[in-house]
Symmetry: C5
Subunit: 255 residues, 5 copies
């Protein structure tokens, strides 16, 4: 897991917990029925529109986003340059038993070695990339849905509490605590949405962009290998996908 994510989670909940504790007991903020209606209601509303398989798939995509190491574009470029050089010297068939660490790149090269023409390989890799993107966007959509439903469920809980309180105003001393309890669900909804669901949805979005740009790089690389392009041209083409910082790193590593 990213160190930043861990720090973020701990400090977000720590700050909120600390501010709850300063006013007295943190236990005053713990209300199981309220938590049930907000967290349970949000999950229930999500199950209405998504099959269990989709929800579990979204969890898997989320865990990958948090725990899997990001691929390095510099390594992919180096692989492509090496493979292209070998293909030009010894022919495309020589790549048959090559061990290529990047799965996606490897699949593209193998299709080319099997005799498919570069355009067909390109089309297949593009379809695969689009399928991956659609799968990730489905995961994002689930967390975005939860992020917009949680505050609504919090409001539902607060309204239920307010209606109950307003119907029994006999004991003025009970009004304050009853209203406090009613507000708790709104608080839960805001925390679930803004500290959990929305950051996860945003993380998935960024991760998808990273994967798509990594795969775009690999597709350009496969095309260059299959078309037998000159390795200097390949290098220029692929380095255009790097940020200045990544380019500097690559030059340091190369140089």
């Amino acid at each position: 897991m990213d160190l930043a994510t861990l720090i973020g989670l701990i400090s977000a909940f720590g700050l909120i917990g600390a501010s709850m504790a300063t006013g007295g007991s943190i236990a005053a903020f713990w209300n199981v029925p309220g938590l049930m209606i907000v967290a349970g209601g949000t999950v229930a509303a999500t199950l209405i529109n998504e099959s269990l398989g989709q929800v579990l798939g979204a969890m898997k995509v989320m865990l990958q986003a948090f725990f899997l190491k990001k691929a390095s574009p510099q390594e992919t470029i180096q692989s492509v340059v090496d493979l292209a050089a070998k293909a030009r010297k010894e022919g495309l068939v020589s790549l048959e038993n090559e061990d290529i660490p990047d799965d996606f790149l490897a699949r593209g090269v193998r299709l080319g070695v099997d005799g498919l023409d570069p355009d067909a390989v390109n089309g297949i890799l593009l379809s695969e990339m689009r399928t991956l993107k659609a799968r990730h966007e489905r995961g994002q959509a689930i967390f975005k849905f939860m992020g917009s439903t949680a505050p609504a469920m919090g409001m539902v809980g607060t309204l239920v509490g307010l209606v109950q309180m307003l119907q029994e105003l006999d004991d003025p001393a009970a009004i304050g605590p009853a209203m406090a309890v009613a507000l708790l669900t709104t608080l839960y909804g805001a925390i679930i949405a803004f500290v959990m669901c929305n950051p996860i949805a945003s993380k998935l979005e960024q991760r998808t962009k990273d994967e798509v740009s990594q795969k775009t790089l690999a597709i350009a690389g496969v095309e260059a290998i299959l078309k037998g392009e000159n390795s200097l041209v390949i290098q220029s083409k692929l380095e255009a996908y790097l940020s200045p910082a990544e380019k500097a790193e690559r030059e340091k590593a190369a140089g």
Copy 2:
């Protein structure tokens, strides 16, 4: 109906009902005039901008989304591979009396057998897919409209109740219950929007994406059959539309 949908619906309403019951009688949350203004007003506002036919069509699309079984991409791929093999061996005409379970695939093959060129068939299938997509999006639009109108009608009901309450402040004991009743419509609006309309709209959106990707697969398959492509190439092309999980399933089934 999806098991998850059923579980979701039951638990969402169960959780809300339970939280209403904890504070005393659930009957306090039952208010027919309030329900009329929110649910009735939402439906009425929808009828202003949609013909009855469109609203009924949206209901039908919704029921299909909840009750129809999703097509399996793996089966479509297997059909395409089998049909392509037969067409290459015995000619395209041999597919004339073939029984193809996927209607859309069958229609595409039949157009090709009737002698239309692959590009024309492609164009026709694309038009059909776009027509289907537009029809589904119209259904989504109706539920999204209802999902944004219901909270507004809830607010209208609450404002009406507040105005009535504020004009007769003589009896302080009546203020609480009157305000409780006024808040009920806001509660109804939130439940209708966030537990019913929005999940349905989201379900339709996901279902449309599934159908479009299934049809995209079938269109690619028809093109491959009509162009007489090699079945290994077809397999590579079509499997690019599967997720890793679906690919693994297919390999297990094949192996």
Copy 3:
């Protein structure tokens, strides 16, 4: 006018009126200065950004959307098939004096008869369709603007009322009624936006989609006629634009 629209309008206002009447006199909800600031202010804000001509044009587009009969795609398909058959038998020039009910289709055919090549005709019809779409979207934009301005003007009215009330808190008995009056403008804003402007904007959006898909069908038809395509091919191409229900209707009519 669509029956559904009429039912929708009557029942929406009926429900709101009924809920107002239950609490006593409906007259309590009638406040001319409040109505002036919300309805008048919304119209005034719209005039700031739209010329009178544009606003009147939007009204005209709206009336058309509510009162004009929708074109039938089945009739357009039948016209195209008949015209194409005649053109193949007797030559394109034989269509010169043909009486074609669909104006847009007629214009396309006439341009072809006048000797323009099919691509030029296609370009001209596409430009016309885009011009129509832009004009309708301008109309939608006006109603959407009003739908987002009305609640804001309602809030302005309520704030004005609250400020006036808060500055003279001497008479406690006057607070309730004064606040009730202040809330009325928020209520007016919500009704104007959610029961009037938003449904109209949504109606215009759907109507525009209908017209664009009808015109797309006609453009495909004109192209097929001018290129002298086989009527079976034309039929397959154009029926791809129909929904299953429309296709069934057409088959019943034809059979």
Copy 4:
């Protein structure tokens, strides 16, 4: 300035002013510090993200939108038809000293007379149109930013006022007026956003659409002149950009 704009501005402020005056003195709504924090804060926040040049440019674009006369598409069509007829009779070079009122059209014709091929001229005019569109969208963005910042600054002012009021609750008689003053900034924010910034942003958006469609017409016209098209074809092509009302006007003028 458009008559409608003037009427709109006067009646919007008139209605709001009248509703303020009905409750007593309009002076109660005048609060210089509150106005400073809302109007000044909005302008200050805008200066953070826009250079002075950009803000002044946006003002200029706004003034043009309100004061410059809209170009007439009918006149442009007539110019194109006349120029095309002359070019076909006397050669393209004969247009060299022609006086063309529409600047953009004139520039296109001059580039063609100077010997650039039609595609290059087309590309240059498209770039110019895109540059103009980007400049106008920057202006819109500034007013949209102000329209979303003003209510936020109003809320900031109200919160500041509430905090000050809540810390000194000793004198109950002062609570009402203090709260009234606190609410004034929210009122100012709403008026600035909904009666000034948003209508201006919307006006700029519509004006940009008008200019782009006018320039699209001119670009089609230049292409037709340089390619030496038949004037009947040109007329059909260009009239497709007119609305039915504009077409009727043109026919009346021509006939």
Copy 5:
């Protein structure tokens, strides 16, 4: 740093500070725990979805946006015209040792001098521009995320404070100040979002547009140089990217 930015920042905070001071002591608005939960919570939530590297990268992009001088399109045009003239006279190779101030332009020219064909150079420069745009959009996304999270964290803080206050209503004199403190976090959230994060996000958006249009100009210039176009044609092509004001400036400088 832009003078306008500095003026904007100082006057925004000055105005808010002044309005706080008018009501008594500005110290009443200083609440460290409240600031911690809003500012700290916003940063923590951002770290959940962004790696530390990304957040630092966004800071760097922001500083560049505020401190780096904007490139001048007029200078780029002049460079291109001069280089094209030299290339036409002395051959493309003569540009090898040319000192070109605009880095991006220089890289394009060097690739051409190295023998890549114009289309490949074009493709490489486009990829670089897209990579830059994606990097800047990531930065914008971070500030937009913070701008939408800060008000939510403010609301969380206010709800925590309200719940604490409502549970201890024994001392009526403490209610006002407790509520004032609770409202402070909402105030902090609004200031952080609307005076800091949103203007920065907007600045980055505008800056990205500037850079993309500057790079688009350079790409068109490189293409013109490599294709050996006539310098009058180049001038016409490139000046189409200038606004009227920039064009006037350039003419003054040239004339």
